[in-house]
Amino acid sequence: MSVRVYDLAHSRAGDKGNTSNISVICYDARHWEFLERELTEARVAEAFKHLARGPVRRHPLRNLKAFNFVIENALGGGVTVSLAQDIHGKSYSNVMLAIELPDPE
C-alpha cells in the first residue's frame, strides 16, 4: 500500500528566475512528521529528474504545517527565455502531489 502526497497535503508552485518553489502543506498537522521522514529532498529530486537539474532543497515550516521545496535549474532558463508552454512551472505542484510514499499506517 502507498499514499500520494495529494492524499495528505495541498501545494502551490511559484517561480523566480530559473528556480521553482513548491509548497507542500498538510491538511492535518499530524501528518507533518510522516512527510518530514518520507518526502525527502532525494525523493523529490527523483520525481523531478526529467524536468529539473536541481539541486533540490527542502525548508521545513513547522508553524504552517508545511514544507517549501526549492528546485534550481527547473524552468528552462526562466519565464523570459523558456520555450515551455507553462513558462512559470505553475503546473509543477501536480508533479509533487503525484509522488507516492509508503503507507503511513
Binding site: 495541498h10 501545494s11 502551490r12 511559484g14 517561480d15 523566480k16 528566475g17 530559473n18 528556480t19 518553489n21 509548497s23 502543506i25 526529467h50 524536468l51 525548508h59 515550516l61 513547522r62 508553524n63 504552517l64 504545517k65 508545511a66 517549501n68 526549492v70 528552462g76 532558463g77 526562466g78 519565464v79 523570459t80 527565455v81 520555450l83 515551455a84 508552454q85 507553462d86 505553475k90 503546473s91 509543477y92 501536480n94 508533479v95
Partner: protein, 450 residues
C-alpha cells in the same frame, strides 16, 4: 464595521492583466482607505521602455487608463488613496495621463505624487564589472543589448510620496510588498528600523500582492478544495493597527474563500529560504508566523519577524535576446502519437536543410508530455497536439518553425489538422545585479498642485 484605529489597505491588481471589476467592488463595498494596484511583472518594464522609445508619452502601464477610469470617481468621492507601480517605465507620463483621466471624468484637477529613481540604466551602463546574480558573469556581457535597468525601490520612498498628501501615488519599479507596507508606515509613522512592525506589514503585503491568490484563486480543486462562487471571486484587504496587528479579509458579498489554507499557500508562494525573504525594507522570516481563522473570511497574521534590510537594491536588467518561434498542429485517432512524432522529425529535417540553427529547441506533445515531460508509464492519449518551439537570433529561423509545422497539413503524415499561424515573439530577457543603495537616488516629484 471596523474600528477607527484600523487602516484598511486593499489589493486592486496583482498583474497588469488582472481583472478590473474586483477593485471597484473593493472601493465601493470594501470600506478601504487605500487601493494598491501592483501591475509590473519581471519583464514589463523592459516592454514599456520599448513603447516609450517609440512614443515619449507612453511607457506607463497601458491598463492605467481603464483601471483609473473605473475606480477614480469612487476613490475621490470616498477619499480612498491610490498607490500603484503602473508608472512602469514612465511614471511622469503616467501621472499626466492619470490627471487627464480625472479632468475628463469631471473630478477636477488634482496632484499625483511620482516616485522616481528606480531607472538606473545610465548608472549601471558604467558598471560592467557588476556580477549577474543568475550566472556570475559580468554585467558587461549583456550591456550592449540592455533595454532597461530598474532597481526594486522600497516602502520608504513610497511613504515619502504619501506624505505629500497627493491622492494618487505612481511609481515605476518598487518591490511588490513595499507598495502595501508604505501606507501603513505613512499612517502610523512606523520607522524603517521598527522591525517587528515592518515585518508584519511586509508579510501582509506579500499576502495581498497577488490579489485573489489569497481568496481562492489558483487554489480550487473539485471535491478536494472547493471554492464557492469562484467566478465572482473577491479581492483581499489587510486591516492593520498601529501595533502591527494584521487581519486579512475580503470584499463582502463576493465569491471565493479566505482561510488558513489559502493564506498558507500564498505566504509560501515565491519564497525560497523562509527565514530570509529579502525585500528592500527588511529580511523577512516567516518561520514563526501564525495564521489563525478569526471569523468567516478573516485570517489573523501574527509573529512575523525580520532582520534589517540589506545595503543593496536588486536591479532587474532587461535586454533583447533574439526571438522565439512556435508552431502547433493536431493528430487524433489510431497511431496519433506515432504520426505526431514522425511529423516532428520531418520539421526538424526541413529546418536543418534550410541551414537554420537554434540556441534551444523543444518538441511537445500537448495532451501527453508538454507540461511534465515524458515518462514511460503513461498510456497514449487519443489525440495529441504537436508543438514545436525554438529560440534564435535569426528572425527568419524563428518564423520557419511555425511555417514548417503548418505545412504539415499538406506535406506531413496523414490526417494533420488545425495548425496555427506561425508565431514569432521578441525575447525580452531579464537578469539581475545588486547595487549599493547609496548610489541610487530615489525621490518624489509632485505633478500638479497640491
Amino acid at each position: 464595521m471596523r474600528s477607527k484605529d484600523t487602516v484598511r489597505v486593499g489589493s486592486g491588481a496583482g498583474t497588469s492583466d488582472d481583472r478590473l471589476v474586483p477593485a471597484l467592488e473593493l472601493a465601493e463595498r470594501g470600506d478601504i482607505d487605500y487601493l494598491v494596484f501592483e501591475c509590473l511583472a519581471e519583464r514589463t518594464v523592459s516592454r514599456e521602455n520599448l513603447s516609450r522609445s517609440k512614443n515619449p508619452d507612453q511607457g506607463y502601464s497601458p491598463s492605467l487608463h481603464a483601471r483609473l477610469r473605473m475606480v477614480l470617481p469612487t476613490c475621490i468621492a470616498k477619499g480612498i488613496r491610490i498607490v500603484s507601480n503602473m508608472g512602469a517605465a514612465n511614471p511622469l507620463g503616467g501621472a499626466r495621463a492619470a490627471r487627464k483621466e480625472a479632468v475628463d471624468l469631471g473630478l477636477g484637477d488634482f496632484a499625483v505624487a511620482v516616485v522616481l529613481g528606480d531607472d538606473v540604466s545610465s548608472l549601471v551602463r558604467h558598471k560592467g564589472e557588476l556580477r549577474l546574480i543568475e550566472n556570475g558573469e559580468p554585467l558587461e556581457s549583456i550591456l550592449p543589448k540592455m533595454i532597461s535597468a530598474n532597481a526594486y525601490l522600497g516602502a520608504d520612498v513610497v511613504c515619502e510620496a504619501l506624505n505629500t498628501g497627493a491622492p494618487i501615488v505612481l511609481s515605476g519599479r518598487v518591490a511588490d510588498p513595499s507598495l502595501f507596507l508604505a501606507p501603513m508606515m505613512h499612517e502610523f509613522g512606523w520607522a524603517c528600523d521598527d522591525l517587528p512592525r515592518i515585518a508584519q506589514g511586509t508579510a501582509a503585503g506579500h499576502l495581498l500582492e497577488c490579489t485573489s491568490s489569497v481568496t481562492g484563486g489558483c487554489f480550487g480543486w473539485p471535491g478536494k478544495k472547493d471554492v464557492p462562487d469562484l467566478a465572482r471571486n473577491g479581492f483581499p484587504f489587510a486591516d492593520v493597527k498601529a501595533d502591527g496587528s494584521v487581519v486579512i479579509g475580503k470584499t463582502p458579498d463576493t465569491g471565493g474563500r479566505l482561510d488558513v489554507m489559502t493564506c498558507t499557500e500564498q505566504l509560501i508562494y515565491e519564497i525560497h529560504d523562509p527565514t530570509a525573504y529579502i525585500t528592500p525594507d527588511c529580511v523577512l522570516d516567516i518561520t514563526g508566523i501564525a495564521l489563525t481563522q478569526e471569523a468567516a473570511d478573516r485570517v489573523r497574521v501574527s509573529n512575523a519577524q525580520a532582520r534589517p534590510a540589506t545595503p543593496t537594491y536588486k536591479v532587474n536588467v532587461g535586454y533583447a535576446d533574439g526571438y522565439i518561434g512556435e508552431g502547433e498542429v493536431s493528430y487524433g485517432g489510431i497511431d496519433a502519437v506515432a504520426r505526431a512524432q514522425w511529423a516532428a522529425e520531418i520539421v526538424k529535417e526541413r529546418l536543418k536543410l534550410q541551414g537554420f540553427g537554434y540556441e534551444d529547441f523543444r518538441v511537445d506533445l500537448i495532451g501527453m508530455s508538454s507540461l511534465h515531460g515524458q515518462v514511460a508509464t503513461r498510456p497514449e492519449p487519443y489525440e495529441v497536439r504537436l508543438r514545436m518551439a525554438g529560440r534564435t537570433h535569426d528572425r527568419k529561423a524563428a518564423h520557419a518553425i511555425g511555417f514548417e509545422v503548418r505545412a504539415l497539413h499538406m506535406h506531413g503524415p496523414g490526417g494533420a489538422g488545425g495548425a496555427c499561424e506561425p508565431r514569432v515573439r521578441d525575447v525580452l530577457a531579464v537578469k539581475s545585479v545588486l547595487l549599493p543603495k547609496s548610489m541610487v537616488n530615489a525621490q518624489v516629484v509632485v505633478e500638479g498642485k497640491l
